[in-house]
């Protein structure tokens, strides 16, 4: 009976049940408004968040014969993806109505995607990892193409579907190789295998499997050179889904990379850390250089999301420092949280200003925004400064922790490349600022002035958190408690 305890997956079940409920509400009540489904979605996500926090025990509990586990690591991932999901739903309410795709199925797909991400966080078997990746990806493929009247949206969905299916193939093949090399797919048992058999068991078969896994995951988090799909898909997808993909999907992807690499293959760290280092360098550089010339804000944020995946990988490589692995992983988590907050904030401002079918994507549309909409301009400036990593914002604190962890691991070259890249990125983040504050508005630009409370709340929450997380750095430097310390306190118990 022990193997079938439901408590560890109670939050997942809440989300899945809500997904089914939203579908049935739509099937039986054709007149049910999309707003009602949105409200159910939001309520269930908040309920799942509460359940994941309150049902969480201190001791790690595994269920379903070791397929899923509820530990502090999974709690952090669950909270992160639910937070991202909640913000995405808040961004979607009016946006969907405005562009004419307000349908219940949208919310039900968001719920299923979130459940997949939660399973990624609590996976303790490579088979569960694959299932989570598929549940998440298939829902996101459909969501990307949800605006089917728009050619770009459909194209993006098709591109993402084909490349994503291909990447899933890599992932599955890698899992098969690992199974061949170790005789098990359970993450704890794989680690046990190398612990008992020693490093001499690291066979070519295992190395090929590891490389295939890294390729598959690299695709899901949009790391160069597996990033080709990112700009087109992020630009084509509905804006609230772009925000969700850049934060939720990326957080779940990074979490599963950490889970697999750190928990299953700690013994072969000296093999995969150089790989991650190389990926980090290429990803940061490619993302930042490509973002320099973008004239479309959505596309620029897509390239910036590639660059941020690079910074996150720097933190992942930093687990190499002996005895400080959990510090490095907490830096990764802090960075994910900071990136979620500031990135969703930036997309929320885009949605706030957009009008009818005009997405307000061109950087030139923001001319003189400070004169017309001083508050919107101020918040967008805050989020962009945070993305650029300027103190006292969350982006700066995140980079500080990640680069500190990398220094501790002795990766000086990696840190230098990272800092140079941050300097480079300031150029393209500051350009919209200059356009907003220093040029006069075009007479023919009119933006949306409706009142949208959900959106305003989302912007408020993200703005406060951007500052709050950034200020936490001061407390950390002064030796007091900060969010970063809190995260590493949680992780110290599982790593």
């Amino acid at each position: 009976m022990e193997g079938f305890l439901l408590k560890p997956i109670a939050p997942h079940l809440i989300v899945i049940a809500a997904g089914c409920l939203v579908l049935l509400m739509r099937a039986y009540g054709k007149k049910t408004s999309a707003g009602a489904s949105g409200a159910v979605t939001l309520a269930s996500l908040v309920l799942a968040l509460a359940a994941s926090v309150f049902l969480h025990g201190d001791a790690a509990k595994s269920a379903f014969s070791g397929m899923v586990v509820d530990d502090n690591f999974s709690l952090l991932v669950t909270v992160l993806v639910l937070f991202s999901g909640i913000l995405c739903v808040m961004l979607s309410f009016d946006y969907l109505k405005r562009i004419g795709i307000a349908q219940a199925e949208f919310y039900s797909l968001v719920l299923f995607a979130v459940s997949g991400m939660m399973f990624l966080g609590s996976a303790s078997d490579l088979v569960t990892v694959f299932l989570g990746v598929e549940i998440m990806s298939i829902s996101i493929y459909v969501l990307v193409g949800f605006n089917r009247g728009r050619m770009e949206s459909t194209e993006a969905a098709l591109k993402y579907l084909i490349l994503g299916a291909f990447a899933s193939g890599f992932l599955l093949y890698g899992i098969a190789m690992i199974y061949g090399a170790t005789g098990t797919t359970n993450i704890a048992q794989v680690a046990e295998f190398f612990k008992t058999h020693g490093p001499s068991q690291i066979s070519p078969l295992f190395m090929v499997g590891l490389a295939l896994l890294v390729i598959g995951f690299g695709f899901k988090i949009g790391a160069a050179p597996f990033h080709m799909w990112v700009p087109d898909v992020y630009q084509g997808a509905p804006t609230s889904i772009t925000a969700f993909m850049a934060t939720g999907v990326k957080a779940a992807g990074v979490a599963v990379v950490v889970r697999v690499l750190m928990f299953a293959f700690p013994e072969s760290m000296d093999r995969w850390v150089p790989l991650i280092q190389l990926l980090a360098m290429v990803t940061m550089t490619v993302g930042n250089i490509a973002a320099l010339t973008q004239k479309n804000l959505k596309r620029m944020l897509a390239y910036s999301s590639i660059a941020h995946a690079g910074y996150i990988l720097v933190g992942l490589a930093a687990v190499y420092s002996q005895g400080f692995a959990e510090k490095a992983v907490s830096a990764v988590f802090f960075y994910l949280l900071a990136y979620t907050v500031m990135n969703i904030g930036a997309f929320a401002i885009m949605i706030l200003l957009g009008r009818d079918s005009d997405e307000y994507e061109n950087i030139d549309d923001y001319k003189g925004l400070a004169q017309r909409r001083p508050w919107a301009a101020f918040f967008l400036a805050l989020f962009l400064l945070s993305l650029a990593g300027i103190p006292p914002t969350a982006g700066f604190a995140g980079k500080f922790y990640v680069f500190t962890a990398a220094m501790r691991a002795g990766f000086v070259a990696l840190v230098i490349i990272g800092v140079l890249n941050s300097a480079l990125s300031a150029y393209y983040y500051l350009r919209p600022l200059i356009i907003m504050y220093m040029s006069d508005p075009d007479a023919d630009i009119v933006e949306n002035t409706e009142r949208r409370p959900a959106l305003i709340v989302a912007i408020g929450v993200t703005a406060v958190l951007t500052l709050e997380l950034g200020m936490g750095l001061l407390a950390y430097l002064a030796g007091g408690g900060s969010y970063y310390e809190m995260i590493s306190g949680y992780l110290a118990r599982v790593m």
Partner: protein, 133 residues
């Protein structure tokens, strides 16, 4: 590793043999044959019958929906059958949960079926009548 050498050798022999036949026939036709281009030679070969229309045509999206529906319930059967076959053994070892895990799985599929039904995926005769005009 030694066990695989034989397979590798067989593979190599197969490749050489088939490649050799291919090269031989190509060489003989190159030496002996004459080149006589003819437009009929370039048409699609369809069991010897002249092709009537282009092969690339648009299908109604109903076909894809039926295919998807079939796939879902086909996979369900593929899962249910081994489960039913080993039910007694599993039930002795794991108890009641082995029954209700499958019930949950089936219930999820029923939700999908209800949704499809209500959305009119299964009524394509009526749809063809109303849209075909």
């Amino acid at each position: 590793m030694d066990a695989y050498i034989a397979i590798l050798a067989a593979l190599g022999f197969g490749v050489l043999l088939s490649g050799g036949f291919m090269a031989l026939s190509w060489f003989v036709s190159f030496m002996q044959g004459q080149n006589q281009p003819d437009p009929i030679k370039y048409t699609t070969y369809e069991c010897g019958i002249p092709p009537k229309v282009n092969a690339r045509q648009r299908y109604t999206v109903g076909f894809y929906l039926i295919a998807l529906t079939f796939l879902i319930f086909d996979v369900e059967t593929a899962l249910l059958y081994p489960w039913a076959n080993s039910f007694h053994k599993l039930a002795r070892e794991l108890g009641a949960p082995i029954l209700w895990t499958m019930l949950v799985f089936t219930a999820l599929l029923v939700v999908a079926l209800i949704y499809m039904w209500k959305e009119g995926v299964l009524d394509w005769a009526r749809r063809a009548r109303t849209q075909g005009k």
